[in-house]
């Protein structure tokens, strides 16, 4: 085992790492390995994974010594979860050196079985103010913004909050427009046009 982190192993959390579709190039993977100081003798890598303002720990266990391809596969699975940077913490004397991670939205989707990670409450709000026949493509508009703009820029958790706020803003606009149209109709009828 490597050195114990000064951050305390008690809060260490193991995450399930499943094989996934490639997220990054081999060149990026090599760079991560170099920045994270991964060597042949490493048995595990403990990480802080940052997602916007939040962070959590993850461990990649290496049973039979480091293999770059295996490391690459596991790293891709870990960072595909919407994290914006990772930092190795099992080297107490190593200076802070976060590695920025930019995952592609469609690749992130693939890790979740092809579905966008949109918040259910936000989708509910969108559906509430959308005609049935238009719900599919309008939910997809929000999913596109969520996956291609908000998640890469702010991380998954903040993106979910933005989704809900934007859904509420859109719902308010729909109500406002409907109210104005109804008032205009009423005025039109009242004036006899």
């Amino acid at each position: 085992m490597g050195k114990r982190s000064a951050n305390g192993g008690a809060r260490m959390k193991r995450v399930s790492i499943e094989p996934t579709t490639p997220l990054t190039t081999d060149q990026q993977t090599d760079e991560w390995a170099r920045k994270l100081h991964v060597t042949d003798g490493d048995k595990y890598i403990r990480l802080w994974m940052r997602d916007g303002v939040e962070r959590r720990q993850a461990v990649i266990v290496i049973k039979d010594g480091i293999n770059l391809a295996e490391f690459s596969r596991k790293m891709r699975a870990v960072v595909s979860d919407g994290h914006t940077s990772i930092e190795r913490i099992d080297e107490a004397d190593r200076p802070f050196d976060p590695v920025p991670v930019v995952a592609q939205p469609n690749e992130r989707e693939a890790t979740r079985g092809g579905g966008a990670l949109t918040p259910s409450i936000g989708e509910f709000i969108v559906c509430l103010f959308t005609p049935l026949e238009r719900q599919g493509d309008r939910l997809a508009d929000f999913a596109e913004l969520f996956n291609s703009l908000w998640v890469p820029r702010f991380g998954a958790r903040v993106a979910k909050l933005i989704y809900i706020v934007q859904a509420l803003r859109s719902a308010a606009a729909v109500i406002r427009f409907a109210a104005v149209a109804a008032f205009a109709d009423w005025i039109g009828r009242a004036l006899g046009h």
Binding site: G114, E144, Q166, S170, V174
Partner: protein, 116 residues
């Protein structure tokens, strides 16, 4: 105002409708809600919610100024297609009429309070 189609009620264009219609024209059949919102922000500097775009295109579609079609599904949209909007003859007439009304208004000098 005659839009050239029998049985169609006379319908004018609101300011937002005109902007959305112009964005749809500029996007040449490739305009969907997000790109329309981007186009309006770029051309008019006005940021609109998707709900405002939806309400407006629904109204334009109801007036038969625009029509819509579904495109190909894309992965970043969770495998769902985009709904593309394109302008119809009635919409082009309405836009031309609005432009002509503007031209007539400005031909007699700037409206009161407007910069010369």
């Amino acid at each position: 105002m005659d839009y050239g189609a029998p049985g169609v009620a006379r319908e004018g264009l609101g300011e937002l409708e005109r902007r959305v219609l112009m964005a749809i024209v500029h996007l040449r059949g490739q305009g969907y809600a997000i790109s329309i919102a981007d186009e309006i922000k770029q051309r008019f500097g006005k940021s609109l919610s998707l709900g405002a775009i939806y309400s407006t295109v629904d109204r334009l579609e109801k007036k038969r100024f625009v029509s819509s079609r579904l495109g190909e599904p894309t992965p970043e949209r969770g495998g769902k297609p985009k709904r593309f909007y394109q302008i119809e003859a009635l919409g082009q007439s309405a836009l031309a009429e609005a432009r002509e009304a503007d031209r007539r208004l400005w031909a007699k000098g700037p409206p009161m309070g407007a910069p010369a």
